[in-house]
Amino acid sequence: MQEYDAPEKYDVIVVGAGHAGCEAALAAARMGEKTLLLTINLDMVAFMPCNPSIGGPAKGIVVREIDALGGQMGKNIDATYIQMRMLNTGKGPAVRALRAQADKNAYHRLMKATLEQEPNLTLRQGLVERLIVHNKVCQGVVTNTGARYRAQAVVLTAGTSSRGKIIIGELMYSSGPNNSLPSIKLSEDLEKHGFQLQRFKTGTPPRVAKNTVDFSKMEEQPGDTTPHAFSYETLPQSYLKDQISCWMTYTNAHTHQIIRDNLDRAPMFSGVIQGVGPRYCPSIEDKIVRFADKPRHQIFMEPEGRDTEEYYVGDFSTSMPEEVQQQMLHSVAGLEHAQMMRPGYAIEYDIVEPWQLKQTLETKLIAHLYTAGQMNGTSGYEEAAGQGIIAGINAALQVKQQAPLILKRNEAYIGVMIDDLVTKGTTEPYRLLTSRAEYRLVLRHDNADLRLTEYGHQLGLISAQRYQQFQHKAQQISQEIDRLQKVRIKPSAQVNELLAQYQMAPLQDGVLASDFLKRPQIHYSDIQDLIGGPELPLPVIEQVEISIKYAGYIKKQEAQIAHLKKLEAKKIPANLDYDDVQGLATEALQKLKKINPTTIAQASRISGVNPADLSILMIYIQRGRIAKRAE
């Protein structure tokens, strides 16, 4: 192919328009950088190749974090969902999780339109085959049509397209997700540049036609009637009333028998699939083998959109041969006559082992080159989008020659995820879980704006009006907490009547309103009934209640965070020669050289680096400092 120099010059090029690429491109463009977004197929922008849903535990919080930073995912799903539910409502505020079923096509169309209308953004179809690199600095990309695009920073978000391979039973072919064109040469180019790649595997279940499903044999899962939204900009009055339900059914002994009888044809077990699959999202054949005692497994039927008959057969991911998939489906209650519209498949793809990245998502090998999303070994649209926005922001900041944005573990799930990836690497597709966050009580879904809007504002990704509203909200919260910590509730007939209602002992002496609110049965509305107060919007009341009711636990986590911050402040010089550090244990030496952590805090999270190694490292650094001073 004869190459040519494309006439336009860009600041930032983003390769791939999946969930990571869209956020990266929008962030860079909105920060004023001239941005080019290249994708293999324009009809697959923000495509959902697997389940048609956004959010859930931890993931839903990521969507809100993206929104607080000025990203698009929250707004896009708020405009295109067909069902929304708040999960974990019976538990504490830290783990409440919003999840929406998306109209897949609408989601794609709206995101595409948003990209098209973004002033600094060019959306173009193109398959990137290699990077333009000079002196270890990435300066652009070359497409399969020979176009050489130049830019000051490049973000790769190639996802499962990277040397993708689809497997269905004995059938195996080179392909990106959903039979799209795979990206082969880019992987080869990355290897040439010295990147270590790894093979991962994931999969998707079959889709069936709604009009062939007997829902009477299934359990209905309707959406919530109380309004919710992902974006802090979405108004509650826009909440969708006409929602579409999901349905639940189960596998049974017959299903399991069909699977067991055909295990020799299952690529997962016949040795065909070599990629590492996730432990948390196993294929149905994997479940039957690993959890042989379980008599049945849940199946969630999720609608793929308003104007399609397709239903996603959730938790039924499989790469069995097509005919076996049919039999398996027909063994399930309600699916006896289901018509399969697309078979399930497994897909193998390349990832860039993420320890090769800095916390900014820039690669250590090649400057000005960033990678994000499934390409970094994660799984899930939200995880991808969360990395995408950070990569886009940091690419733009690099062009501006400004300090990068690194979210800390105590600031965001996005920070937890990126730190995990670059510090520990991953041996399977990485999914965010609330249990990965050591400070999950402060990383709540309700306070993502309080945690991150300031960054969004500083970066110029949040409108002035929204920032003003945010500041007002923050002020209302602190003023009201302040007030409740000063005003007293005195024992009165009204108070004691209320307490009697809750079967609590009557009040003997006056108490601070804040202490009164700490009682489990008491809510903010009770306080308002008793002593009055300002008219406050619900989100403000929610923050006031949480801050006061759970103050003890929050304080404990904040003490741990203070400790962490001290360690974060202990920087490790970028050019430190670990071989010169006498006395490090061999494993620690190898790991430290590989990861090259930036702070003692990060070093402390590397497995195999023990406290003695940290001590030695700190002394070495301090000694260097003293020596420098003496010169």
Binding site: Q298, E438, P520, I619
Partner: protein, 461 residues
């Protein structure tokens, strides 16, 4: 959990163990003063001026029992050895008392310092110069790994087994809680706070039992500080020599010849005793002798065990009576010596209290009746505690301190449930308990919880 230990408040006994009349327990770190203040009474350490020495008592924060009478130096950052807040607690020597103070501090959140860690901090905070750095590095490399190895090695096999078992029990519940949170639609049983409460209670009970073995364990490890007292020439030194099986104290028939407190270790039927032979206590005008007597009285107060020796060949007098009175609050064993000579009184004449065991009748010179002493000591200290090899026994201050911390976390779990806190908050304290127990066995496998999640449950997206 990450290895964040750098800014912990650390504690250690910083004087040679068992030597000298005074021992110093040193604390360094931002929480040093707060932690010390939580275990002392008589003075509010958070309010005292920097670089002052204060009189007070170390108390067990739970039982409010006095552990030792102490002098406490409070030195605020930055003008200290480590440039952090430093507290030094001067205890009355003796391993048991000093260990108790140390373990109480660990129980309140201090961490047992690694070898050289105070010096390391001094260096990192710019307190010592470049030339000293090398030696600190050597020290850390040489000792830290070894110390950690030792700490785990010291774990008695059955204790390790028990703690692993407790951790697994907690982990099973935690895994269940996490699965409920991260996979709310997964068809597993929803774990309730009631179930968590039951688990916390069960684990807490087992830890309590372990803590009860601590005293026995520590005795086995470091010895009982034993004071032998009695009026002059009742045969204290002879008894000491018989027990220690060495001629250490000068034995003469002249009253008052043992002037110094002499410490010696002895193994009495498997129980290590740290024997203190005291200058005979009697009214004296000799000034030098008086010094020795004062010191004897002092060591008497800090002893774990008093062997009160009386002479059956001479009548009981006012000094004997006074000694009985002085020691009536302590664990003591009355020993009637000189059985080989003609008795001058009847054993019913002894002013025993209800707590006293039957006096042991011996002849130190003829070495008779000595086995009975061992039997009675066992009765006094190991009653109800099996010390066979199969029982888990807690043996050092670090283990006790960490077990106390674990207990505190469980108490927090229970009070959180009482206050109707949601399960994902209560779980924070349960996880802390699990982490603390892991510190005891030295297990810090990363992502243990997540591994548990995926191996125990069959999870979808």
């Amino acid at each position: 959990m990450p290895n964040i230990t750098e800014f912990d408040t650390i504690a250690a006994i910083s004087t040679p163990v068992g030597e000298g009349a005074i021992s110093i327990v040193r604390l360094s770190g931002s929480e040093a003063i707060t932690i010390a203040n939580q275990v002392t009474s008589g003075v509010d350490l958070t309010q005292v001026a920097s670089h002052t020495i204060n009189y007070g008592h170390v108390m067990d924060p739970k039982s409010q029992q006095v552990l030792d009478e102490v002098m406490i130096s409070v030195m605020r950052a930055p003008k200290t050895f480590t440039r952090e807040d430093v507290v030094e607690i001067n205890t009355h020597g003796g391993i048991m008392a000093t260990n108790l103070v140390l373990q109480t501090l660990i129980g309140q959140g201090a961490r047992l310092a690694e070898p050289g860690e105070f010096t390391k901090r001094a260096f990192l905070n710019g307190r010592i110069d470049l030339t000293q750095a090398e030696s600190v590095m050597d020290l850390i490399r040489a000792k830290t790994d070894k110390a950690m190895h030792q700490a785990v090695q010291q774990l008695d096999g059955s204790l390790q087994h028990l703690i692993k078992h407790l951790r697994q029990e907690i982990m099973d519940v935690l895994g269940q809680v996490e699965v409920n949170i991260d996979y709310p639609e997964y068809d597993t049983d929803e774990i309730t706070t009631q179930m968590l409460l039951e688990k916390a209670q069960a684990v807490s009970q087992q830890i309590e039992q372990l803590l009860q073995t601590a005293q026995a364990g520590q005795i086995m490890n470091s010895g009982l500080k034993t004071a032998i007292i009695g009026k002059p020439n009742v045969g204290k030194s002879s008894l000491l020599n018989v027990l220690a099986q060495k001629q250490r104290a000068i034995v003469t028939d002249i009253a008052g010849t043992t002037r110094d407190v002499i410490e010696q270790t002895a193994n009495v039927a498997g129980i290590p005793l740290q024997l203190i032979d005291t200058a005979g206590i009697h009214e004296t005008t000799d000034q030098i002798e008086q010094l020795g007597v004062d010191r004897s009285l002092q060591s008497l107060q800090t002893a774990d065990l008093i062997l009160l020796v009386v002479d059956s060949s001479r009548p009981l007098d006012a000094t004997d009576q006074r000694l009985f009175q002085l020691t009536q609050e302590q664990k003591r064993l009355v020993i009637v010596n000189k059985q080989d000579l003609a008795p001058a009184w009847d054993s019913a004449a002894l002013p025993l209290t209800a707590d006293d065991l039957t006096p042991v009748i011996i002849s130190a010179t003829q070495k008779s009746g000595i086995d009975q002493i061992a039997a009675q000591i066992k009765q006094l200290f190991f009653q109800g505690i099996e010390t066979s090899q199969t029982t888990a026994v807690v043996t050092n201050a670090r283990q006790v301190g960490l077990l106390q911390q674990a207990q505190q976390s469980l108490a927090d779990v229970m009070s959180g449930i009482q206050a109707q806190m949601p399960i994902d908050l209560v779980q924070i304290d349960m996880t802390n308990c699990w982490n603390t127990l892991g510190e005891i066995t030295g297990e810090t496998a990363p992502d243990e919880l997540i591994t548990q999640l995926f191996s125990q449950f069959c999870l979808g997206k």
